[in-house]
């Protein structure tokens, strides 16, 4: 697509990179990227998965280390015809009430943001602002990452009740007036005993799940599903499945399957911690949203969105559901995003913050497991996932700072797209220059300049954008993309160390932060006897900075960001991500037990050996806080998310040896559930000293 250069600043660089690809390139992208889909016809024509797997065997040619004028690939005027590539986008507008753009007529809106699935042509029209909306910025949904916890390799028994501090039992029924929403991956095992109630003798039990919205479902049912996506499993249908399964001798999940149902499912474990019968809030109503982010669904990836716009829909759906049911609602998100400014201004953060303007709502987010610098157990490669942040300072005008960016090779082929975002304040001006591992220097890009899709001799495509005054926060952003060759034949991104050189053009402060945005590594499948991977890039040990690694989602202003505390060792788990946010705010807010947490083992045999499983990660800590927040809201539904945050921060217990000051890994300390519950009425009880003294005087 030829987006008019005049309008270039209205389209996010990542979207431009996608839009610059033709239908073939985007057929591959649909398999790799979360916010892009294409049709079965395109997949049949280009067979992306097959070719990506074969890429593992293709050797990239040796490149000569010379400064070369980069080759620009021919443009594709016929790309206007590519109507099959569809991209999920956030559209920021200046006048949200106007709504005159046809493509946005039915699009959901939150504040100044619309959500829409667009073709390239539609994006171009919006960018050209042929409407009265005053489109400020169009950006694609961001990849969601699944902060993988790891199973603890030991046999576990039934979990103890979650709350160490006892909650008076006569108050327990109070806790049913609340909805807990879980947005997660892997499948909700709604028939696990931890979610069943009733049932005796011949009467089968029923599930406590109110509903499960399966966004990844590609069969029938989308007409009745929220936003016309996937399918909705109602309690009625789930209970019928439990009954029927018993009658005919199969599993309930056979009768009513979800798009993914993995043994040891993440979603099931998380839901069990927050709201299971042995969970923190065992009387809450539960609603699940299953995001289609799962490696087992490889064959369907081209047709599935699993980006941050899907998360936006999920959160909105859950709050609207709570409203319909007349219940305050807490949403748990044990997923993350890496990209954007890490200052709460990403579209998904603004979307969620806008939903949290109403009281009786709360969102808890896992800060991520990127805190770790080395492997935490044998064979662990997870720490490489953690190397996503670098920061530093260009000391003065005319001086340079280098960042090292590593792409793996040798037996592992990186066919994913790699993006680095460097954010710096508006007062500074940097130019940026990229050097490939084989030594080819690309031309420098000054403030307000860009080049895109330049082909290096090694067949890697480089795009660099140096944006000024980003519409979200007024800061400057440099975006660098390394893309594999995805046309005719596939060549992985040149492996080795890429150098990113920042040069001070005008320096007043000079500080910058850089993040690598990408999907998590995942195996693509078997090629002969070996495995092809999407194994994305990371910062070298030298460049990586082990702070401010809190997931971008956790940097939202009104969400509660939760770190992983090891309750036994009384310290923060080594893998838990650290704050603060780029703009220096206190995230994580709080820590909760997230280490070796025993909870429901989804879709496993229903015997003592397999009913429960232990996992570790911030994914396990966040639902604990969700459960506490739910109990608070059940008692006092007038609380706002900011008040809940305040109470949790105020009552938190600093770890042994710490003072009350905020810490970058533990926040304000470990959550104290009972203390939180004691405080729920405080915001609504003001003491009128006049009256009081009057009374005293009288008495």
């Amino acid at each position: 697509m030829a987006i008019d250069l005049e309008h270039a600043q209205r389209v996010a660089p990542r979207l431009r990179v996608i839009a610059n690809g033709d239908e073939e390139v985007n057929a591959y992208r649909s398999t790799i990227a979360s916010a892009v889909t294409t049709t079965r016809t395109m997949v049949d024509r280009y067979r992306p998965l097959e070719k990506l797997r074969q890429a593992a065997d293709i050797e990239a040619p040796e490149a000569k280390p010379e400064i070369a004028e980069l080759e620009k690939p021919p443009s594709h005027p016929e790309d206007y015809l590519d109507r099959r590539t569809r991209i999920n986008c956030f559209i920021q507008v200046a006048d949200p009430e106007a709504r005159t753009a046809r493509v946005l007529e039915d699009a959901p809106r939150q504040g100044d943001l619309f959500l829409a699935t667009l073709t390239k042509r539609q994006i171009e029209r919006l960018a050209a602002d042929e409407t009265e909306l005053g489109v400020t910025y169009v950006e694609p949904g961001a990849p969601l990452s699944h902060p993988r916890p790891w199973s603890v390799p030991r046999r576990v028994g039934e979990p103890e009740p979650r709350l160490a501090e006892p909650i008076p039992s006569e108050e327990a029924t109070e806790d049913s007036a609340v909805l807990i929403g879980i947005v997660d991956v892997g499948g909700f095992d709604f028939a696990h005993p931890d979610f069943l109630v009733g049932g005796e003798g011949d009467v089968p039990p029923t599930t406590r799940f109110h509903s499960i919205w399966d966004q990844g479902w590609l069969g029938d049912g989308s007409d009745e599903a929220p936003f016309g996506v996937g399918r909705l499993l109602t309690r009625e249908r789930m209970s019928a499945a439990i009954r029927g399964a018993r009658e005919v001798g199969v599993a309930p999940s056979d009768i009513l399957p979800q798009s993914t149902q993995r043994t040891g499912a993440h979603a099931t474990h998380v839901a069990s911690i927050a709201a299971g019968n042995r969970g923190v809030c065992p009387n809450a109503h539960i609603a699940g949203v299953l995001i289609a982010l799962d490696e087992s669904a490889e064959e369907d990836r081209h047709a599935t969105f699993f980006d941050s716009t899907r998360l936006a829909q999920a959160v909105r759906y859950l709050f609207e559901l709570g409203e319909r049911e007349g219940l305050p609602t807490v949403v748990n998100i044990s997923l993350g995003t890496n990209g954007h400014a890490h200052d709460g201004t990403s579209p998904i953060s603004r979307w969620i913050d806008s939903l949290l303007m109403k009281r009786g709502r709360c969102v808890c987010v896992a800060v991520g497991n990127a805190g770790q610098e080395g492997p935490r157990f044998e064979g662990d490669l997870g720490y490489l996932n953690g190397r996503i942040h670098a920061s530093g300072r260009v000391p003065s005008r005319g001086l340079d700072v280098d960042l090292e960016w590593q792409v793996v090779g040798n037996g592992i082929v990186d066919v994913s797209e790699n993006e680095m975002e460097i954010w710096y304040e508006a007062g500074d001006e940097f130019s940026v220059q990229v050097r490939s591992p084989s030594g080819v220097w690309c031309r420098p890009v000054g403030p307000g300049e860009f080049y895109e899709n330049r082909r290096l001799p090694s067949e890697t495509f480089v795009s660099v954008y140096n944006e000024r005054y980003h519409p979200a926060n007024g800061a400057n952003r440099i975006s660098i993309f390394l893309s594999p060759r995805l046309k005719d034949r596939i060549v992985g991104v040149e492996s080795g160390t890429w150098l990113v050189r920042l040069h001070g053009v005008e320096v007043r402060d000079g500080r910058f932060d850089a993040w690598i945005e990408r999907d998590d590594p995942r195996p693509l499948g078997r090629l002969g006897e070996s495995q092809a991977w999407l194994f994305p890039s990371f910062f070298s040990q030298r460049s990586n900075v082990d702070r401010s690694s809190v997931s971008s989602l956790g940097c939202g202003r009104h969400v509660i960001a939760v770190g992983n505390g090891d309750a036994t060792a009384e310290r923060i788990h080594v893998s838990s991500s650290q704050g603060p946010t780029r703009d220096g705010r206190y995230k994580p807010d709080i820590a909760a037990p997230g280490t070796e947490i025993v909870a429901a083992n989804g879709f496993a045999p229903r015997d003592d050996r397999h009913l429960w499983t232990a996992m570790t990660g911030t994914s396990m800590a966040s639902p604990y806080v969700t459960g506490v927040a739910a109990r608070m809201l059940a008692r006092e539904p007038r609380l706002s998310s900011t008040q809940i945050t305040g109470i949790m921060r105020r009552t938190a217990q600093p770890l042994p040896g710490s003072d009350y000051a905020w810490k970058d890994d533990a926040g304000f300390g470990m959550i104290r559930a009972a203390a939180c519950l004691e405080q729920v009425g405080v915001p609504f009880r003001a003491v009128d000293l006049e009256k009081e003294s009057h009374t005293e005087a009288k008495g």
Partner: protein, 434 residues
């Protein structure tokens, strides 16, 4: 009794059938292993699903090339039940596009990690998965093959879990093992299990085997942990020194040379195959799973099936572990002879191995005419579950199977008495009717 061999990919899939002893009773069917999922669907489903019932489904062990087809069989039954349920709810559900599977009356299956110990199971799983993931990226072909075996095993372990769950009372409610709910172990003192006219004896595993196995797995897990921890430390040191990770971050430390003792040391312990000896009158069948020589001969000895010279002749021998050299010792070839030798394999990992096939053949072709054993001088046939021109066979596997055929042809030409013949399965099934 007759045997029907199905093409099970690189795995085993064999059906034993016998007419009833009494007039009017039902015939008896025993399915031993299911091969690979795809192969089962393609080749076994058709004729197998014409049967009204399977008296026994036996899973020799949890390797994917044995268990996967059985999982497919059980899932097919689930699909039909779900379909029935939908219909009963008045839903307009399409019928599954395959016939209803036969009724399964019992399943024999030892979930090995359940047997070797409660606390070991999750550790084994973890070690397997980790190891497989790491090795998959290795530039060394041997290590990648090992990775695929480990991956196989990790998948097999999940399959075993699924099978347990499927056949539990909560779901299909199929009784497991004799005695029900107990592991299926060798007990030489017990009477043979009678399935219609078939008398079946369990040759292995034994309680002792399991205990040894437990130690072996424990050691393997510990070795793995030490190995990997060491490598990881080296990797980090190197990074510290160079200031960057070697580009081959995952692969490099896993080169064979770095593994110290070599590939053999990291090979996983065996899986305690369920091995059976089946009799109907004069017809005898020896089913060896993926067992090794020692286990099989010990089992036969304990059951007093070997003669004074330690030998046994059976009607049909299912050769152990797809004819892999590691499982067949010289003394086995000398001790056990058969009228029919069955090799299940498709050239994957170069199985059946040429040395093994040749050794079995030569043992018969070059037998001493003065030997008084009754089988001496008798005819014998080799059966192969995969022909070189089987559709969808990869080039390297097809080449291997062609090499087997060439060897067989050569040996047959050497045989002046016309005692030796061989048969190849191209698709569907092949019947051995002794």
């Amino acid at each position: 009794m007759k045997l029907r061999i199905f093409h099970g990919g690189d795995g085993d899939c064999v059906l034993l059938s016998a007419d009833p002893a009494e007039e009017g009773a039902e015939p008896v069917h025993v399915l031993v292993d299911g091969g690979r999922r795809g192969a089962f669907r393609e080749h076994a489903r058709g004729s197998l699903y014409e049967l009204p019932h399977l008296d026994v489904v036996c899973v020799s062990h949890i390797d994917e090339d044995h268990i996967a087809g059985i999982i497919g069989l059980v899932r097919d039954e689930v699909d039909w039940r779900v379909h029935d349920f939908r219909r009963s709810q008045g839903e307009d559900a399409d019928e599954p596009d395959f016939p209803r599977p036969p009724e399964i009356r019992e399943i024999w299956h030892n979930a090995v990690f359940e047997l070797v110990g409660d606390d070991l199971e999750p550790q084994v799983h973890d070690a397997l998965a980790t190891r497989a993931t790491l090795l998959a990226g290795s530039p060394s072909k041997e290590l990648r093959e090992l990775a695929s075996r480990l991956d196989n095993l990790a998948t097999g372990e999940r399959s075993a879990m699924e099978l347990s769950r499927r056949i539990s009372d909560e779901q299909l409610g199929i009784p497991r093992n004799r005695p029900v709910g107990e592991p299926m172990l060798r007990d030489a003192a017990a009477a043979a299990i009678e399935i219609g006219p078939l008398a079946i004896r369990v040759l292995g595993p034994s309680q002792d085997d399991l205990e040894l196995l437990r130690d072996e797995w424990k050691r393997w897990i510990d070795n793995n942990r030490d190995d990997l921890e060491e490598l990881q430390a080296e990797m980090l040191e190197e990074e510290e020194r160079l200031g960057e990770l070697p580009s081959s971050v995952v692969a490099r430390p896993l080169l064979a040379a770095d593994l110290g003792e070599g590939v053999e040391e990291v090979t996983e312990p065996n899986l305690a195959s369920l091995m059976l000896y089946v009799e109907e009158g004069d017809t005898t069948v020896l089913l060896t799973g993926d067992g090794v020589t020692e286990e099989i001969l010990t089992g036969l000895g304990e059951h007093d099936l070997l003669d004074d010279e330690g030998r046994l002749h059976v009607t049909v021998l299912k050769v152990q572990h797809h004819g892999a050299l590691a499982n067949v010792e010289r003394r086995f070839v000398d001790a056990v002879t058969a009228d029919h030798y069955l090799f299940c394999g498709n050239g994957a990992h170069e199985n059946p191995e040429l040395e093994v096939v040749e050794a079995f053949a030569r043992a018969r072709l070059e037998e001493d005419p003065a030997d008084p054993a009754p089988h001496v001088g008798g005819p014998f046939t080799f059966w192969f579950s995969t022909a070189p021109d089987t559709p969808d066979l990869s080039d390297s596997r097809s080449e291997h199977m062609q090499a087997v055929v060439d060897l067989m042809t050569e040996l047959r030409d050497e045989d002046d008495d016309d005692r030796f013949s061989f048969e190849l399965l191209r698709s569907g099934a092949l019947d051995i009717e002794p």
